[in-house]
């Protein structure tokens, strides 16, 4: 179980990091979401993986730690709110710059003068 769990966390985080390094806001947002999934699973595993354990001392031989679950719950809530915010901000970026590049409008670069004039005239 530990190996599968570790592989899942690794796959989620590495795909998240890959997507985060993309230049468009949509992959970046998806990447952030995947990273937060990976992080939440990692945080969950910090209380050791056990099935059928009870979170009350003395009730069973094999008890599970309830604190990481509380931490994960907090992290999920915060991560969800932040993702919603970053989605809205990306839409704002798209609307403001007519481009979903993370550095804003690509037309501002000097090597593409035709595109810049095109975008200015369309405003």
């Amino acid at each position: 179980m530990e190996l599968v769990f570790a592989l899942v966390i690794g796959a989620l985080t590495s795909s998240g990091v890959y997507l985060l390094l993309r230049a468009r806001t949509f992959p970046v947002v998806v990447g952030l979401t995947l990273i937060s999934y990976g992080v939440n699973l990692f945080l969950f595993s910090s209380g050791r993986l056990a099935t059928g354990g009870q979170p009350i001392l003395g009730s069973t031989e094999n008890y599970s730690d309830p604190l990481p679950q509380a931490l994960v719950l907090t992290a999920i809530v915060i991560g969800f709110a932040m993702t919603a915010f970053v989605v809205v901000l990306s839409l704002r970026n798209l609307a403001d710059n007519e481009d979903d590049h993370v550095d804003g409008r690509q037309g501002e670069r000097p090597e593409k003068p035709e595109k810049k004039t095109e975008e200015e005239s369309s405003q």
Binding site: L32, L43, A75, M82
Partner: protein, 505 residues
């Protein structure tokens, strides 16, 4: 258990909630209530400072849980100092904002107060996960404040800031998970005891977690490889927001001071002084980078934003060396630089409002309105920031230089700090002479009025460097006592023994 400790969190929380419900109330009412909240906050933090000055630790345990098991707020000299510094800064930034910067967004005051709440939780908390929550509270408020005022110019730096901080939060959670999985606790005092009992691969896990934590704090503090988000974001923020953000990098520095002195301090066995050998060279390179950025700045606000990075380097170098004198000097410099930099952001905004379309760009332009007043304010701020006598920056830098008296560290710190200060002076004199002295013929269309509270807030914030000089003795005594308290780990660990159950008050 002392219930006063929760006041700096409750006051902005209640004030902020009130603002959230009052979005459609007349703006004068909202302004009065918001500033009243900030004044109340300042009063409560001063009460806490007077309480903390006796050198004992005070504790507030949520739900009356015995410390290692519940979340605790801890008040000591360092926390009280940070609280008062933030509250004074916030009051003047808030006064400046009611001069017109708060219009255009109904929730400005609410966000401002929630930001203060997040900062105060971060300064008071004695729990690592609660520190993460505090960071998130202050960050989400800062996202809103950074975008305040709108405009396409703020979208892209805002997006970078948000994405970077979300990645930072993910790394924070991973390091918290690694530390918890081995030690089974997140209470800072309990952690300081548990790390001594570790060995073998458990030790390596905590070491890795501790280093990742340092990366997160360095991102918040804008240490060199992680500092390039700052100038654009700060330079484009509305002036009172940029002034308040002057304290945001200091949260990272506070967290480094708190966590690394307590958990990974001199007595931490195999983990003693974790990461501090990395921090010292990085701090010096950050200082150099800040000076280079300041020399190349195209506008006054960018110049001041790079000054934030210079001050981060100057602060972290003596902290990394970890001597008691060094920490005391760094705390003295922290007070001076935070208020001065915030004042300079406000001065840059005054310049921008009186120069028509030239704004705060460092270019020749027609003569600005109210030049005498603004140029004097800029002069005082620049002298204090660059560290020339007779203002507070000079005394702070002398204290920092005095704290390191031998070895290669002395050679590095003295040469980088002194040469850096020299070039900072050049950057300020270049900017000041172009903006204030070199004028071209022409007139400014539609100058904006320079309101009384704009002048008062900026003058007061810049003038605080004179106040620091006047009260340098008592302030230095306080920072000395703070540094001594920070170095004495054993006293902090006693909060674990505080009895909770069956207590009357």
């Amino acid at each position: 258990m002392n219930h006063w400790l929760i006041a700096p969190i409750l006051i902005p929380l209640l004030g902020g909630v009130l603002q959230a419900f009052m979005g459609y109330a007349p703006i004068s009412l909202r302004r009065t209530l918001a500033v009243a909240t900030t004044v109340l906050l300042l009063v409560s933090t001063i009460v806490l400072l007077l309480m903390a000055n006796d050198g004992t630790y005070r504790l507030y345990a949520f739900g009356n849980w015995q410390p290692p098991f519940g979340i605790v707020l801890v008040l000591d000299r360092l926390a009280a100092l940070m609280l008062v510094m933030t509250a004074i800064l916030a009051l003047f930034a808030h006064l400046f904002s009611i001069g017109g910067a708060d219009e255009g967004n109904r929730q400005f005051h609410g966000l401002f107060l929630f930001q203060l709440m997040g900062l105060n939780i971060a300064f008071m908390t004695g729990d690592l996960f609660n520190l993460f929550v505090a960071f998130e509270v202050l960050l989400i408020a800062s996202y809103g404040l950074l975008m305040h005022g709108g405009g396409t110019a703020r979208t892209v730096p805002g997006l970078h800031y948000v994405v970077l901080n979300l990645v930072g939060s993910a790394v924070f959670l991973i390091s918290v998970g690694m530390i918890y999985s081995v030690t089974g606790t997140l209470n800072m005092a309990d952690l300081a005891i548990r790390v001594l009992l570790l060995s073998g691969e458990e030790l390596e896990l905590v070491k890795a977690g501790g280093m990742m934590l340092l990366v997160v704090f360095a991102l918040k503090a804008a240490l060199l490889p992680l500092c390039f988000w700052l100038p654009k974001a700060y330079a484009r923020a509305t002036a009172p927001v940029a002034a308040l953000f002057a304290v945001m990098t200091k949260v990272g520095i506070y967290a480094i001071l708190r966590v690394y002195l307590l958990i990974f301090g001199d007595d931490a066995g195999a983990l003693a002084n974790l990461g501090m050998d990395w921090l010292f060279p990085l701090a010096l390179i950050t200082l150099v980078m800040g000076v280079v950025g300041a020399l190349g700045a195209q506008s006054l606000k960018t110049l001041v934003a790079w000054q934030v990075i210079i001050s981060v380097g100057t602060l972290l170098a003596p902290i990394a060396l970890g001597s008691e004198e060094g920490i005391s000097a760094a705390l003295f410099y922290l007070l001076s630089t935070t208020w001065t930099v915030a004042g300079l952001f406000l001065v840059a905004e005054l310049v921008a409002s009186q120069r028509g379309s030239a704004l705060d760009k460092i270019v020749t332009a027609p003569r600005m309105r109210h030049r005498t007043l603004i140029s004097v304010l800029f002069l005082v701020g620049a002298v204090a920031a660059a560290g020339l006598p007779p203002l507070s920056g000079f005394f702070a830098k002398v204290l920092i230089l005095n704290s390191v008296t031998s070895g290669p560290e002395m050679a590095w710190l003295w040469s980088v700090l002194l040469i850096g200060s020299f070039f900072t002076v050049i950057a300020y004199s270049r900017a000041g002479s172009i903006v204030f002295w070199r004028t071209v013929d022409g007139h400014i269309e539609e100058p904006k009025p320079l309101g009384g509270n704009l002048r008062a807030a900026t003058g007061a914030l810049v003038g605080l460097s004179l106040v620091i000089v006047a009260f340098a003795g008592p302030i230095n005594e306080y920072t000395d006592a703070t540094a001594a308290q920070l170095q004495n780990r054993a006293a902090y660990l006693e909060i674990l023994q505080t009895p909770m159950v069956g207590e009357e008050n």
